[in-house]
């Protein structure tokens, strides 16, 4: 019988910790490319934009297992790039916790991009024009106007990506496996417990944990969204005045 802390067994705590760790890594790595891609789709017109958009949103509609399989084919130990990365740098993603992070990134990327795109679209383009006439180049304009004004939306996207990472199952189990203490996140732990007869209590505890963490992330997202709306209303009022 595993040792209990706060009513949770060690494997459950390990699964919770791993889930949070994977979620934070996922969000940390996603932030820059997610913001860049969202801004690109919101503000720029270029050939192949719809193709890029379809590629970005593909994991949202693709069965997660298929996404996991594709990751395995590409980044598995014998995959197209995985073999090369292992031979050159000794990096291995499949069946490691970084693999779980990678699977989460691929699954959460569309959510992050979508949030950023909406947030950037909500930033009044006139503000960016004003910034340019005040001598700000594209980078300064982005850092001092676009980014602060879309920050609540970007943070809401990060919260959604974190929540998506917590709930990620199909791609993770396919690409990273279900190794206790290594790649077994909360959903995988629930799945494993379901296979054990008479472990309903453990399943319920894990489910409650998942719900609590997910609700926290969604609550954060909602708070930040309402801040964005309030700020935009203020901007609107000051221009109407």
């Amino acid at each position: 019988m595993a040792q209990e802390h706060f009513g949770l067994t060690s494997p459950e705590i390990s699964a919770l910790w791993l889930s949070v760790k994977v979620g934070l890594w996922c969000v940390g790595i996603l932030l820059v490319p997610g913001v860049a891609c969202g801004w690109l789709l919101a503000r720029k017109q270029f050939p192949g934009k719809s193709v890029l958009e379809a590629m970005v949103y593909l994991p949202m509609v693709l069965p997660p297992v298929v996404t996991g399989c594709l990751l395995l084919f590409l980044l598995g130990r014998n995959g197209v790039f995985g073999k090369m990365l292992f031979e050159l740098f000794g990096w291995q993603f499949a069946f490691t916790w970084m693999g779980a992070v990678l699977a989460s990134i691929v699954m959460a990327f569309p959510l992050m991009v979508r949030s950023v795109k909406v947030a950037v679209e909500m930033v009044d383009g006139n503000m960016e024009e004003a910034s340019r006439t005040l001598g700000a180049g594209p980078l300064r304009c982005f850092l001092t106007v676009t980014l602060p004004l879309s920050a609540p939306g970007i943070l809401a996207g990060a919260a959604l990506a974190f929540a998506r990472s917590l709930g990620e199952f199909g791609a993770t189990i396919t690409f990273a496996g279900n190794i206790r203490g290594e790649t077994q996140t909360l959903p995988l732990a629930v799945f494993s417990q379901l296979q054990v007869p008479g472990s309903e209590n453990a399943v319920l505890r894990l489910a409650a944990l998942s719900i609590a963490v997910s609700l926290g992330a969604i609550a954060l997202s909602r708070i930040l969204e309402s801040r964005l709306k309030r700020r935009n209303q203020n901007a609107q009022e000051s221009d109407d005045a």
Partner: protein, 371 residues
Amino acid sequence: MLEFDVHFRRPGFCVDIGGAFPGPITGIFGPSGAGKTTLLRLLAGLERGAGRIVLGDTVLADSASGACIPAHKRRIGVVFQENRLFPHLNVAQNLTYGAKPAGGVPGLYGAVVRGLRLDGLLRHRPHMLSGGEARCVALGRALLTLPRLLLLDEPFTGLDGDRKRGATELVRSFAETYGTRVFLVSHCMESILALTDRLLVIQGGQAVGCDAYTRLLDNPAALPVLMSAGMVNMMRMAVQWSDEARAVTYCRPLSDDGGQGAPAAAERAQLFKTPFIPRPNGTQINAVLSPRDILLTSHPMPDLDRGAEAPRQNQVPGRVVRVIESVDRVLCVIDAGMRLIAEASRNTLPPGLHEGRVVWCLFRTESLRVA
């Protein structure tokens, strides 16, 4: 010198405007949809059009050679119709957003803040400001970049009297002190004339006149545009002396082109009475007089020439230059040393009014508003 010849096409709308503008301040006047804002956007580099824009010795854009300096490198300040203040920054941060971090002019920030009466608002966020206050922040923000060219789109809308005077003085001082060229768009002729009498009149995306305001009255293409907006007389004058007890200031009229006494009025040492102006003697002012406030008479009114004891009215002789008749009203352009426009109904005009005839223009002291 600002020189441009720009062409811009959009379905159902085009702008083809060119000209050379040697003066420091130019007003742009025209009906809504004439292309005034589009012209400003083309100059600022916010729209790409065909043609050429040259400011001083810098080619800002030239479609023939493909040259185009991006908006952020043009050193052109813009005050947009909407204020476009950054909502996440307070007033002080908005003001200094484009200001030079080093090498700026010492004391400039303080002068702008005081001139626009923003002292107590520096920590306020834009949504806490009134329309006029926000307008002042937008103007101050553009001025603090020390632009080579300042484009103002209805900059004085919503400003109360004091702030409007402060803003006008500040724009004028930037033009004089720092050589900033100013293009001012306004539907309010008084606002333009308070800063300059040089006008570019635009209609349907074309320049229909570019000259001194009074000379534009002789331009048959520009006159209808000026008339449709409600005309005013702009009188450039210098304060001679003030009688504070009677709340009257006596002003000497200046010519349209350089501050020397206007020939006819100066020869007669004609002084105009305006409401009391608390400014030192010699200060140049622009006074505005509505054409409807001028009464034309065939003979002078003798009681009006009793010096300090005279009633609070002005009269000046002039020769009728043009008579423009509309359905129920008549517009008279009169050469009274300066060009004056008088508007009247047919039955209040002196009989036998024709071009070349001498008439007397009569108007109340209170009708002269200092812009």
